[in-house]
Structures are given as structure tokens and as C-alpha cells.
């Protein structure tokens, strides 16, 4: 009788302990960030976010170390060597923003073979053994037209500002915008220029095409070009259309000024540099033993009329609106992929 009770009790204890033991403890694990470039404000913000979030995680004992490494030159061969060095340094996971989607595959395979978890984000890699946290640029373009369809239900002409010609991101966002126009046929892309993701280039390009355009109700953009477009349109003394912004500080500041002056309404969408911290938590979850799908999608950072002030206050001068992700956010992204 007592023996049976003891057996039952031990089974109960074992059952209670099961969920605990199913997950490995990550407090002894070391995670490295392999970054290929640090030469613009987006990448600087990405590294700052990494330091902030992982520093906290190391302090509270979630992981043992989370060291960032950046290659001196933006070259795939150098980053491959860097990854191989990380294998030697005994890291348990490598989080990387890759210089090339394919040229690092050999080094990543070596890492996987050594039992290391590899999570790529932003600049993702094609090696099947690595995880990918990708950006859905097409959806980013499509969502702009969807927003405009609610803002201007009767439709009209759109001006499209594209990025740097020949770059994959430019093609993707533009394809998304044209998909959106097909979905909401009341809109028509009346003109399109290349703004190279830079305000001065966008301003010149928009100023050049404006005289040939009929009335424009909306400007769809790729980020880093909204402020330039606004300047050009204001200089031409045309009615201000709805310009979709791209989370840059100067864009948000202009939007705020207009909002205060005449109740101007728009939205702003881009990828937060803090996506590095999302990748960190995903890597931590994988080390923790969680089943994670190999392909995940980054949520956009969207700024609307009501949270403009809050985001503007958090954005550094000359920087990009940012958000740091938490463990719960990572869990949400992982769940969404299932």
C-alpha cells in the first residue's frame, strides 16, 4: 500500500518535473553576433539595440555571453573566416546578418556540423541548416496601398518613389506596390522615380517629374525618401498628397509639424533595426529546446497617427525609429510561423 503510494507520488513528481526538464537551461550558453557592416545609422542602431538587450540578458543569467563581432570590411570571405573563428571560440549559437546569401554557406555548414545553431536575419542565408528571419518587403509595399485605400476610398493617381535600381529590395517593394494597385484598382501609378533611399535624391527626382503629373492623391515610398518628396511638392505649391513615410527621424519630424499645423494624416512603415534582438531571442529559444520553423517573418514597425509622438520621442536625430524585441515577442513570431 505504502509502496504503491510512493510509486504514485514519484510518478506525480516526475510528471510535474517533466515540462522543466524538457527544456534545456540556456544560462551556460554563449551566443555570438556576426555582422558584416556597421557603416550607416540603421546598422549602428542595430548594434546598439543588440548591446542593450543582450547586456540585460547576460546580467540576468539568461545566457552566459552574447558578443557582437563586425567584420572590418564588408566582404563575404572575411565574414566566412569570422564564422569559422566563432566555431573555434566555442559559441553555442551564431546570429548573423550576412554579406551574401550564398557565399557563407560553406562556413555555416561547418558551424552546423559542429552542433552550433545558426540564425540569420535581415541579410539571410540559403544554407538549409540555418534559420532565417526574413523581411516580407512585398507586403511592406502592398500594405501602403491598402492604407491609402482606406484613407482615400475614391482612389486616384499615385506617385511611386523607388529605391536604388537593380537592388533586390527595390524590386520586391515595388512589386508589392503594384500588387496592391491591382488589388485596389481605383488607384493608378501615374509616375515613378528612383529616390535611392536618400532624401536629396528623392527631392530632385520628384521635383523633376512633378510638372508632367496630373493631380496626385498619394505618394508610395520605400523609406528614406518621404521628406525629400514632401519638400519637392511643397516647393511646387501643389496640394500635399498623403505621403507614406519610412520611419526616418526627419520624416517623422515633418509629419509631426504638419499634423500640428493642419491635422495632416499618414502612416509610416519600415523594418526596425532592433530585429537583431528578435534574432537573439529566437536563437535563445532554439537553444532552449523549442521547436522553431526554419523560416520566420519579421513584423514591420508601423507608426500611425496616434503613436507618432511616442515614436518620434524615441528616435535619435538623424536615426531610424526603433523597437527592441523581448522574449515574448520572439515567442509570438515563432507561434505565428506554425
Amino acid at each position: 500500500m505504502t509502496i504503491r503510494k510512493m510509486l504514485l507520488a514519484s510518478v506525480a513528481v516526475a510528471c510535474a518535473a517533466m515540462p522543466m526538464t524538457a527544456f534545456a537551461d540556456t544560462s551556460g550558453k554563449k551566443i555570438a553576433l556576426s555582422n558584416n557592416y556597421a557603416g550607416n545609422s540603421w546598422r549602428q542602431a542595430m548594434l546598439t539595440s543588440w548591446d542593450k538587450v543582450t547586456g540585460e540578458a547576460v546580467k540576468t543569467g539568461v545566457v552566459a555571453a552574447a558578443d557582437p563581432f563586425t567584420t572590418a570590411e564588408n566582404q563575404a570571405t572575411e565574414q566566412a573566416a569570422q564564422i569559422q573563428n566563432m566555431i573555434l571560440q566555442g559559441y553555442d549559437a551564431i546570429v548573423l546578418n550576412a554579406a551574401s546569401p550564398t557565399a557563407l554557406n560553406g562556413a555555416i555548414k561547418e558551424a552546423c556540423d559542429a552542433g552550433i545553431t545558426v540564425v540569420s536575419f535581415d541579410g539571410i542565408v540559403t544554407e538549409p541548416c540555418a534559420w532565417r528571419i526574413a523581411v516580407d518587403f512585398k507586403e511592406m509595399g502592398r500594405s501602403q496601398v491598402e492604407y491609402l485605400s482606406k484613407k482615400v476610398p475614391e482612389g486616384g493617381n499615385l506617385l511611386e518613389i523607388r529605391g536604388l535600381a537593380g537592388v533586390f529590395v527595390d524590386d520586391e517593394i515595388s512589386a508589392g506596390i503594384h500588387e496592391g494597385v491591382k488589388q485596389f484598382p481605383q488607384f493608378k501609378v501615374a509616375g515613378s522615380v528612383h529616390g535611392d533611399w536618400a532624401q536629396d535624391v528623392a527631392q530632385k527626382a520628384v521635383a523633376g517629374i512633378l510638372p508632367s503629373l496630373p493631380e496626385v492623391v498619394g505618394v508610395v515610398t520605400q523609406g528614406g525618401d518621404g521628406y525629400g518628396a514632401a519638400q519637392a511638392i511643397a516647393a511646387a505649391k501643389r496640394p500635399m498628397p498623403v505621403i507614406v513615410m519610412g520611419n526616418r527621424e526627419d520624416e517623422l519630424k515633418w509629419w509631426k509639424e504638419q499634423k500640428d499645423a493642419n491635422g495632416y494624416e499618414t502612416m509610416s512603415v519600415s523594418i526596425a533595426p532592433g530585429v537583431s534582438t528578435l534574432a537573439f531571442w529566437v536563437a535563445q529559444q532554439i537553444l532552449d529546446g523549442k521547436e522553431v520553423k526554419k523560416d520566420l517573418v519579421v513584423p514591420f514597425l508601423r507608426i500611425d497617427q496616434d503613436n507618432l509622438e511616442q515614436n518620434l520621442a524615441n528616435t535619435q536625430a538623424g536615426g531610424v525609429a526603433n523597437v527592441e524585441y523581448s522574449q515574448e515577442d520572439a515567442l509570438k513570431v515563432i507561434e505565428a510561423a506554425k
Binding site: F69, A76, Q84, I87, S100, P101, T102, N105, A107, E110
Partner: protein, 315 residues
């Protein structure tokens, strides 16, 4: 005669010494590297660099400089990951054609008396353009044999070390022991005396450039074997790395004074210097500077050595 040999040995001693010191430092910082797997990880990316360095050395031995090395290796990598896998015959023909272009370049530079820097800089855009045409977006896949060759696990000594030694021996035999090698270095040392001795400078230069092309092709194939797929910008760093490797290994810009064994050691040293700085956790802002500092220290040592050499001769 005796002194000449000792001077050459000294010339090789500095790069060998710097490699040993760096290796010891890396082992001290990261004991894990002191293993079969560790050595392979440290040095496997040095194999294509060593091949490219030998190619650059051949060009430098006829007093020229090849600024298209990086883009050419990238182009070869793209051919390897596409044609050489899917249609081996076409791939081989393209690569043979590329080597022939290298030979022709050597001849044209000599006949038209053009500066090699300008011609190869121009060619670098041609190779880069062809590479982008072949692979507009990164991709392709390494031929299985290239992948197998670069991931082979020989007993006792890892592939990277075996390959480096093999490259050094082959290059040494070709450049230092064969009569063609003597001629090539002769053209670099004193072109007119080679000409007057009845040799064809045109043919020698064509051969030197052709050989360089072959080694560069091998570098591209080795690189793709390691990375598994290609990218049109994969090897842009190789131009400067290969030149630095030759100089670090005891070669000179003029006079046909080169050392194949030294060049391989130079390439290994450069690769190791990168790992060393990474293990030291030096911030990336300082890394380029630190890499430069290592180069300057080695070159300063050589300058010091040359003074000793000259003083000995003066005596």
C-alpha cells in the same frame, strides 16, 4: 655563392618566423584551435588565397601587377558554380578561354608597352561584368568533386595544411626549378639580357601570365569548393590580399625576386592575422589598422634585414 643562399634563406626566415609567432599567439588565446578540426577551420579559407597569391606572384615576377585578381577569381567562382557543374565541357572551355585571355594580356602589355596596372584595372571591370552576367543574384552550386576535394579529411594532417604544402611545392618546382621559371624571373630581373641570350620575351611573358591564369582559376574553384555556392563579389578582397601575401612572403615589386614558398606562408600569415585580431576581440574600427600594423612590422623587419645583408656584402 654561399652568402647568396644564406640571404635567400633569411628572406624566407622572416615570414616563417612571423607565421610561427602568430600561430603560437593564436594557440595561446584559443587552445581549441590546436586540433585537427581547429587547424582546418583556421586555414581552409587560406587555400584559395594562397593560390591567388601564387598567381599574383607570377605576374609580379615579370615586374607587372595584377589589379584584376579579385574580380577574376570571382568570375571563375561564378563559372565553377554554374557551367562547370551543369555542363562541365562548356565550363572547362570557358576557363581555358579565360586563361588564354590572361596570356594575351601579358603579350599585349609587353608589345604595346602599356602599364600593367591600367590594363588589369580595366580588365577587372570586364571580369566583374561577366561575373554579374553569369550570376545576377548570388547562387549556383559547387560541383560535387570540388566540394569533396575541399572537405576531404586526410589522416593526421588536415586538408588545409596538406593543400598549402602541395601548393608551395608545385609552385616552387615551377618557378625556382624549371627552366621556364628561371626565364620568367630573368625577364623580371633583366629583360634585355634574356632577349640577347636568344629567348623570346613575348613567349615567356605569355607563359607567365598563362600560368598565373591557371593558378587563379584553381583559386576560384577552391573557393567555391569551400563556400558551396558563388556570388559575383565573392573574392574582391583577393586583389590586395594577394599582393600583400607576395610582399609579406619576401617577394619584391620589381627585379624578379619572388619566393613561392614565402608567398604561401604570406597568405597563411594574412589569414591568421585576421583570426588573431578576432580572438583578441579588437573592435572592427581598429582591425584594419591592426592588420596594417602587422604588415608594417613584418616589412620593417625585412628592411632591417636588408641593411644587414648590404653591410655583409660591403665587408
Amino acid at each position: 655563392m654561399n652568402r647568396r643562399i644564406s640571404a635567400d634563406a633569411l628572406r624566407l626566415a622572416i615570414p616563417a618566423l612571423s607565421l610561427t609567432v602568430l600561430l603560437a599567439a593564436v594557440f595561446w588565446l584559443q587552445p581549441r584551435a590546436m586540433s585537427y578540426v581547429g587547424l582546418n577551420l583556421l586555414f581552409n579559407l587560406a587555400v584559395p588565397i594562397a593560390l591567388a597569391t601564387i598567381a599574383q606572384m607570377l605576374i609580379m615576377s615579370v615586374n607587372d601587377l595584377d589589379l584584376s585578381m579579385g574580380t577574376f577569381v570571382s568570375f571563375v567562382a561564378c563559372v565553377t558554380a554554374t557551367f562547370l557543374r551543369d555542363a562541365p565541357l562548356v565550363g572547362v572551355l570557358i576557363l581555358a578561354g579565360a586563361v588564354a585571355v590572361y596570356s594575351v594580356l601579358g603579350v599585349v602589355i609587353y608589345l604595346r608597352n602599356l602599364p600593367s596596372i591600367v590594363v588589369t584595372l580595366g580588365m577587372s571591370f570586364v571580369w566583374a561584368g561577366l561575373a554579374v552576367l553569369l550570376l545576377p543574384s548570388p547562387g549556383g552550386q559547387a560541383p560535387d568533386w570540388a566540394r569533396a576535394l575541399m572537405t576531404v579529411k586526410p589522416p593526421l594532417v588536415p586538408m588545409a595544411i596538406v593543400a598549402s604544402i602541395a601548393i608551395a611545392i608545385v609552385a616552387h618546382l615551377v618557378v625556382m626549378r624549371s627552366s621556364l621559371g628561371v626565364l620568367i624571373r630573368g625577364v623580371g630581373g633583366n629583360q634585355r639580357s634574356v632577349e640577347r641570350a636568344g629567348w623570346s620575351v613575348v613567349a615567356t611573358r605569355a607563359a607567365a601570365y598563362g600560368l598565373a591564369g591557371i593558378f587563379a582559376v584553381l583559386a576560384g574553384i577552391a573557393l567555391v569548393g569551400l563556400t558551396t555556392s558563388a556570388d559575383a563579389n565573392i573574392a574582391l578582397r583577393y586583389t590586395l590580399l594577394s599582393i600583400a601575401g607576395v610582399i609579406l612572403g619576401g617577394g619584391e615589386f620589381i627585379g624578379g625576386r619572388v619566393s613561392p614558398v614565402g608567398a604561401v606562408i604570406g597568405a597563411l600569415t594574412l589569414t591568421l592575422a585576421g583570426s588573431f585580431l578576432s580572438f583578441l576581440r579588437i573592435s572592427p574600427d581598429w582591425q584594419i589598422g591592426a592588420q596594417g600594423a602587422i604588415l608594417i612590422v613584418v616589412l620593417a623587419l625585412r628592411l632591417l634585414l636588408r641593411r644587414v645583408e648590404i653591410r655583409e656584402k660591403g665587408r
